[in-house]
Symmetry: C2
Subunit: 206 residues, 2 copies
């Protein structure tokens, strides 16, 4: 099994390669990638080795080839249709974040249950009543649902998303959701990022 | 060196232990923890083994002891003072998220450069002009800065935070920041979480 941290680093390498490719650079070494993203060259080589032989020893990696390979490994060769539920502060920040579209994640529907939110248009997508979710999501061939509603509503929304056929759920509500095993579920808690920082500070502040 | 994924899992174990402790449960096995957070019992034991012997073979772990130990490892035995810069959609979602305070991260100051935002009060904290950052942040003994401004302003804000003595920066702007080596920096890109999902779907959708 490939460690999750390796997948997350692959995603960071690919962003860096986008920048390098834009600058017209043809080949790159594991040392350059390592410096660009803040890891060790050995870590870059170890991560890539899980997926096969990409570079030529002594010459480095072809930027375009390596980038295309990584995008394929991450499942990003095509676009993904994403449905966002809950247009509160967090939902609004995610719906307006250009980084998603750049990586091929297109928000194709937004739902809420607050009449004040229904009818708002974000990037051409109109906020719809949550009661229409199970009808609209399959129509727009949506594979991923993002949950940004309060914890009290999160399981109800997860059930609706599963019924409408999504294959994966990104959950921001701080609650443990039950979804069937064939649906991929990922919980995001931003305070975990702060805790990695305080762990790293642990030695320094002592 | 302890893998970052281990630290992130420790943070998730600790949240689960908070819930278990609240229910009055005295001892717990690695199997129970594993089931509660969705990893394998071997992974729980491996993660904890980095930090010493906590449980008694055949009996399990004392919930309160294990929890206190994990909080100490994560550097959460005390509260941390956090400064938030940029009260946009994302900044607003972070400033109102109760999960931070529950883990001991207290937002003690908020800055923006938009006159419409200055003077807004969130949870008793008044949004101040960003020009006051280098004066206020040291006064409030702030150790951590969170950057939620557009990419174009992120480096300027990072420099201000470093000058005011913060020890760690959590950056949400999609740009590579330069900070001195003694300052811990962590970049968050939420699309990385979507890419872990699409990687996991890779095999299933093929
Ligand atoms: N994981 C993190 O780090 C993190 C950070 C910030 C917020 N959050 C969480 O994200 C969620 C959203 O936070 P927020 O600050 O945007 O909250 P918010 O209250 O501003 O927004 C919630 C939105 O969901 C809508 N809603 C409520 N019930 C609904 C339902 N049944 N169907 C459809 N829409 C519904 C509301 O109308 C509102 O627009 C919360 O659960 C919060 O705890 C998590
Ligand atoms: N990492 C992710 O996954 C993710 C997700 C969403 C947004 N973002 C990023 O987070 C940042 C904020 O996003 P948003 O949607 O809240 O944007 P926004 O435009 O709604 O908010 C930005 C805020 O920063 C303030 N600001 C601008 N320049 C400033 C300066 N020099 N000093 C102080 N304040 C300043 C603005 O007045 C505004 O209030 C952006 O960089 C965005 O790309 C990242």
């Amino acid at each position: 099994k490939i460690p999750e941290a390796t997948i997350m680093r692959l995603s960071v390498y690919s962003r860096y390669l986008t920048e390098i490719d834009r600058k017209g650079i043809i080949t790159i070494s594991s040392g350059d990638i390592a410096e660009g993203v803040g890891v060790s060259p050995a870590q870059v080589r170890k991560d890539l080795a899980y997926f096969g032989e990409f570079g030529i020893r002594g010459v480095g990696y072809n930027v375009k080839d390596l980038h295309r390979n990584i995008l394929k490994i991450l499942g990003l060769s095509n676009e993904w249709s994403v449905c966002l539920v809950g247009l509160g502060n967090l939902g609004l920040a995610l719906s307006t974040y250009r980084g998603f579209r750049e990586r091929g994640f297109i928000i194709t529907s937004i739902f809420d249950n607050d009449p004040e939110k229904i009818g708002i248009v974000i990037d051409g997508i109109e906020v719809l009543p949550v009661d229409l979710l199970e009808e609209i999501v399959p129509q727009r061939h949506t594979q991923i649902g993002a949950i940004t509603v309060p914890s009290s509503s999160a399981q109800i929304i997860a059930d609706k998303l599963v019924k409408s056929g999504v294959k994966a759920i990104l959950n921001f509500a701080p609650v443990v959701l039950n979804v069937p095993p064939e649906v991929e579920l990922r919980n995001v808690d931003l305070s975990v990022n702060l805790e990695v920082l305080t762990f790293n500070l642990g030695g320094k502040m002592a």
